[in-house]
């Protein structure tokens, strides 16, 4: 059987859960995850991992898995101002402080931009002004900010009152992003009463985990309350034809987050008490000659927990086609093959060498790869068929 077997939670973990010390949402220095949507499928969009589900506008979002970063896709909406995907803002955006982070990839945008590329947009109910919580690129966001910019806070009077604005104030998409068509990680953090480590300023942007140097600051506190019926939307273009934005793994926190070193891990909730890593195995490469054929076995950790002391416990080949032969594993001389710890979201590989002497080119095998970690608390096995040498 493929898959993972988990041992029953320890009595201590159960006791902690009963005592209320076990929280389903992440509880870290950066607060709680209030929205986490992987955007990987229609089902995932409608059923967020944490927080309320999203509402998709037909035809404007094609979801895809995070792992290959390739398919969560907001189609070109040109001038139509159509929001591809929305979430109820009042339950996921905290006026006082918070963090919005996501991965995004721009396609077919010119490097010199003179129109708005808004990836996150706050949408109030009809009849109320469309301000703010916004992050994107533009030649002018309406308040004099341009370049890579973000705004937060609800305007109460004019377009710019009641918001904080930060921007790179210059540059092209290429000068800001490096490769404008690559995947980048974006984050916006805010605190209405100021962020101490930022000298009291109230909004900052992060690009690929790095704090963006800002040149413009506009503040007209206090901010208005977020009206009922408001939405947090992905994504909004203005006057850009033929372009598109892919967005993946949207996460909203209820506090200021300053460390985005975990941005490669899809799971922001982390490893809870009693949680165990989830491992998947595959044969990812084959090389060498018939008598010294090297197979690379890769174990992927798709959970928020570290897999400790991970090992490949064996490799069994059963011939299913071709003239009978007897392949011999020459390295390692014995199993298990230790591959060490696997960080959350990471992969580790081990190599085996097999002597296929006497096996015809048409020989096919079924390969069974048992694996384990955490001193046997996590065990699993992967079966792969139709394996040529």
């Amino acid at each position: 059987m493929n898959g993972i077997k988990r041992k029953t939670l320890s009595a201590i973990a159960c006791l902690l859960a009963l005592l209320g010390l076990f929280s389903p949402a992440a509880q870290a220095e950066t607060g709680n995850v209030v929205l986490w949507n992987k955007l990987g499928s229609d089902a995932e969009i409608a059923n967020s991992e944490v927080g309320p589900g999203g509402q998709k506008t037909a035809g404007h979002f094609a979801p895809g898995p995070f792992a290959n970063f390739g398919q969560s896709f907001v189609n070109d909406v040109g001038n139509s101002n159509v929001f591809a995907l929305t979430f109820p803002a009042t339950s996921v955006v905290s006026k006082s402080k918070g963090t919005i982070e996501f991965w995004a990839k721009l396609s077919n945008f010119p490097s010199n931009f003179f129109d708005a590329v808004t990836m996150i947009f706050y949408v109030p109910p009809p009849s109320l002004p469309v301000f703010h919580w916004r992050m994107g690129f533009g030649s002018n966001n309406g308040c004099g900010g341009f370049g890579f910019y973000g705004t937060v806070g609800v305007a109460t009077n004019s377009f710019c009152s009641g918001l904080v604005d930060t921007a790179t104030q210059s540059g092209t998409l290429d000068s800001i992003l490096g490769d404008r068509s690559a995947w980048h990680h974006y984050a916006m953090v805010w605190n209405e009463t100021g962020i101490a480590q930022f000298g009291g300023r109230k909004l900052y942007l992060y690009l690929d985990g790095n704090l963006v140097t800002t040149q413009r600051y506009h503040d007209a506190s206090p901010w208005g309350a977020i009206p009922d019926g408001s939405r947090l939307a992905l994504a909004y273009f203005y006057n850009i034809s033929g372009a598109s934005v892919a967005i993946d793994n949207l996460i909203v926190w209820d506090d200021v987050k300053t460390d985005f070193s975990d941005r490669f891990i899809e799971n922001p909730v982390g490893c809870g008490v009693g949680d165990l890593p989830e491992l998947f195995a595959s044969i990812t490469a084959k090389s060498g000659t018939q008598t010294e054929r090297q197979w690379t076995i890769t174990l992927s950790n798709k959970s928020g927990c570290i897999a400790e002391n991970t090992q490949i416990d064996g490799l069994t080949l059963t011939q299913t086609s071709g003239a009978a032969c007897n392949p011999v594993i020459t390295s390692p001389l014995s199993f298990p093959l230790g591959v060490g710890n696997i960080q959350a979201g990471a992969k580790v590989s081990g190599t085996t060498t097999i002597n296929f002497s006497g096996c015809p080119n048409s020989a096919r095998f079924k390969a069974v790869i048992p694996f384990s970690s955490n001193n046997g608390e996590v065990t699993g096995s992967k079966t792969l068929t139709n394996q040529f040498r």
């Binding site: 595959s282 690379t296 048409s362 096919r364 394996q387």
Partner: protein, 187 residues
């Protein structure tokens, strides 16, 4: 057999004209299948590959909750197929689901005690690519292997419609009926 041919023909007709070189489409196309607790259900498929030679090496149903057991049909050695242009291969391979003949991506045996509702997940297909068809007499895996462990995914979900009463409930009901019958005779 005729049913399978009709399905394959219908799948071919709805192929998008701008499809990718390698693609997986489930049957039904929305990936949603339905059954009662205890039933065996499954997915058909249409697999397309136009640029090189693809061999499926595994399939699984991945879900955060999996109330049953998935059995891989598509990579079964007796179901061996090469998807690609020529040399005994075909650029399109399709099969309807049939539990008896073990065709399709695979079957899902819904657990007898599965709760009513919809389980969301995805079918994950693992495959290897070759520069030459394995059916070509000149095929040599040492030199013709292009890449291993590639993955195709498709959204898949299972709607579990009803939950059968456990045997104990029927026994309990029969006992109640029996007691009622005996009581009526004594009056």
């Amino acid at each position: 057999m005729i049913k399978q041919l009709i399905l394959l023909a219908s799948l071919l007709c709805i192929l998008p004209s701008s499809q990718a070189a390698t693609s997986l489409q489930l049957e039904p196309t929305n990936g949603l299948i339905e059954g009662d607790a205890g039933d065996t259900v499954g997915w058909g498929f249409l697999l397309t590959n136009t640029q090189n030679y693809l061999v499926v090496t595994g399939a699984e149903f991945q879900s955060s909750t999996s109330p049953g057991i998935f059995t891989d049909f598509i990579s079964a050695p007796e179901n061996f197929f090469v998807v690609g242009p020529g040399f005994g291969a075909s650029t399109v391979w399709g099969q309807t689901f049939d539990a008896a003949s073990q065709t399709g991506v695979g079957s899902f045996k819904i657990a007898d005690n599965a709760a009513q509702g919809t389980v969301f997940g995805q079918i994950v297909l693992t495959y290897d690519l070759f520069t030459r068809s394995p059916f070509n007499p000149l095929f040599d895996p040492d030199t013709d292997t292009l890449s291993n462990g590639n993955v195709l995914t498709a959204n898949a979900s299972i709607n579990i419609t009803t939950v059968p009463l456990p045997a104990a409930a029927w026994l309990f009901g029969a006992a109640l009926a029996g007691l009622g019958f005996i009581g009526q005779r004594r009056i």
